[in-house]
């Protein structure tokens, strides 16, 4: 009898289950397609290729740097949008999320118009200090940050809006300064939201292609990240492209899964 009781409790409405199953199949089947088509015997040889390793290392380093930059600037932006009280806040929010809907290639062109050799900021840098940002690793990080920071902002802003402001008010009444309230009350309260946003941001940066190739170009070792390597491999060798995609996929799944476990284990 108890068995039927648990079954009854777990029963999922058909109206939810059917679309969920179809949706899952839609999401998972393409990945399965990659796994099935992968030339597994080639995998060890591909893994040992110095160019592949350079692209993987570059991807991991730049995506992490972009996440760090997004945290540094994105959390304050989110606070401003959630707690700030100023005219034009909704317009500002819309502007911050523009990179989410902008085709990344357009984002890359926009970055060039600002930081490029003849851009608003890039031109003086080039003329005075002979400094060019495009075609450098810095450009890769900037492109990734531009595209992925909105994910963090949206996630943190949501967490801030959901958080109970009475705790902050209580801390303030007890004599805590505004910065202390932020670091000791607000931030711990929204930590899960910040971490979720950071993970989303990192994952988006890792897969970044359009803005990177447009703004940073493609040069092995300095700007050729894994997605760029995959795209170029696709031009000549489908099998190689599949192997590279799988490696990128495996690394991101391992990193994301291990992070997830750590958080859920935390109290």
């Amino acid at each position: 009898m108890s068995a039927t009781r648990t079954r009854r409790r777990r029963r999922i409405p058909a109206a939810l289950l059917a679309p969920a199953v179809i949706g899952l199949a839609f999401l998972i089947l393409p990945l399965a397609g990659l796994v099935v088509r992968a030339p597994w015997t080639e995998l060890p040889a591909r893994l040992a290729e110095p160019e592949m390793l350079a692209a993987l290392r570059l991807s991991l380093v730049t995506a992490t740097a972009a996440t760090a930059l997004s945290l540094l600037f994105g959390v304050p932006i989110a606070w401003l949008l959630a707690r700030g009280d100023f005219p034009g806040r909704s317009v500002l929010r819309a502007l911050v999320t523009v990179p989410l809907v902008l085709p990344p290639v357009v984002g890359g062109v926009a970055l060039l118009l600002v930081f490029g050799r003849s851009g608003i900021i890039g031109a003086p840098l080039y003329e005075r200090f002979d400094l060019t940002i495009p075609f450098t690793t810095t450009a890769v990080v900037l492109a990734m940050t531009f595209v992925s920071m909105p994910f963090l902002v949206v996630s943190v802003e949501g967490a801030l809006r959901g958080a109970d402001t009475r705790f902050e008010e209580a801390a303030a009444t007890l004599g805590a300064g505004r910065w202390t309230v932020f670091t000791h009350v607000t931030l711990p309260m929204v930590a899960p939201g910040v971490l979720a946003g950071a993970v989303l941001c990192w994952a988006r940066a890792l897969g970044e292609f359009g803005a990177t190739i447009t703004f940073a170009g493609n040069f092995p070792g300095t700007t050729q990240t894994m997605p760029l390597a995959v795209y170029l491999a696709l031009q000549s060798d489908l099998e190689a492209a599949i192997v590279l995609s799988l490696i990128l996929l495996a690394v991101s799944v391992i990193v994301l899964a291990s992070l997830r476990d750590r958080w859920t284990a935390a109290p």
């Binding site: 003849s118 190739i213 170009g217 040069f219 489908l238």
Partner: protein, 261 residues
């Protein structure tokens, strides 16, 4: 319980049927018999758009409603789409190696070369750095195509032939992206096809260089085995190779193939 299970089964069946219906969609449209799908290399964009318009106008009388759908892209990407089963009638590639890959995969036979394209050095309008040949590019920032694409292998061949130590700042995935880096002012010069500079009109100038002759790209065209409309496909290819077709290609900056003309 039973009704719930039945409802679930019904919902699943309905969803599966819907999926199956959408999957069949594009195939049903091909029955028209008057539509020709042409997969063409990105560098053929302007020329083939013009050719398609002319072809449609000339064949309107005998085949009312004839229409050409053009799918432009990097040759290698197109070849991958074709070998993976994308439905098309004609494939025009930017190099023979890519066409050979499609032929090896069993997608087509007997491609014919219909045009040649040659690399030039694209420079900003007015050639501010006074570039006259590859030797002037040493130490400058240059954009080139990646070696995996035809314009990149041609560039490597030409650079090797010149003996000049040219170190490109970036290896772009296709020729349009390479030219875009120049148009945006990020590099001093770009190694691209003559046709791309002509297509870009005013913004850039072309500097011809002798080493380019050692690395000309031959453009092959063929009817695909999967063609829904092989007769119309053959007619289009014949039109591309006719005097009228070749004139359009020449205006776009292509050269006629050696020998047979």
């Amino acid at each position: 319980m039973r009704t719930a299970a039945r409802r679930l089964a019904a919902a699943t069946a309905l969803a599966t049927a819907l999926l199956a219906l959408t999957a069949c969609g594009p195939d049903a449209e091909d029955d028209a018999g008057n539509t020709l799908t042409v997969f063409a290399a990105a560098s053929l964009t302007n020329a083939f758009n013009a050719l398609a318009d002319q072809f449609e106008a000339e064949h309107e009388a005998e085949r009312p409603g004839v229409g050409i759908v053009l799918n432009f892209g990097g040759s290698s990407a197109l070849a991958a789409q074709i070998t993976e089963g994308a439905p098309g009638d004609v494939f025009a590639a930017a190099d023979e190696a890519t066409m050979a890959a499609a032929v090896d995969a069993g997608a087509a036979d007997d491609p014919e070369v219909f045009a040649l394209n040659q690399l030039v050095i694209a420079v900003p309008e007015g050639n501010p750095d006074g570039v006259t040949g590859l030797q002037d590019l040493a130490g400058r920032s240059v954009a080139a195509c990646a070696e995996a694409v035809p314009c990149g292998s041609a560039a490597q061949t030409a650079i090797a032939a010149s003996g000049t130590p040219i170190a490109p700042s970036t290896y772009e995935p296709d020729v349009k992206a390479t030219l875009a880096k120049l148009a945006l002012g990020e590099v001093d010069a770009a190694l691209v096809y003559r046709t791309d500079v002509i297509a870009a009109r005013d913004a850039v100038d072309a500097v011809e260089f002798p080493e380019a002759a050692s690395a000309r790209n031959a453009y092959p065209i063929t009817v695909l085995h999967e063609a829904a409309n092989p007769d119309l496909a053959a007619a289009f290819i014949a039109y591309v190779q006719s005097d009228a077709g070749q004139a359009v290609l020449e205006t776009a900056g292509f050269q006629a193939p050696d020998g047979d003309r």
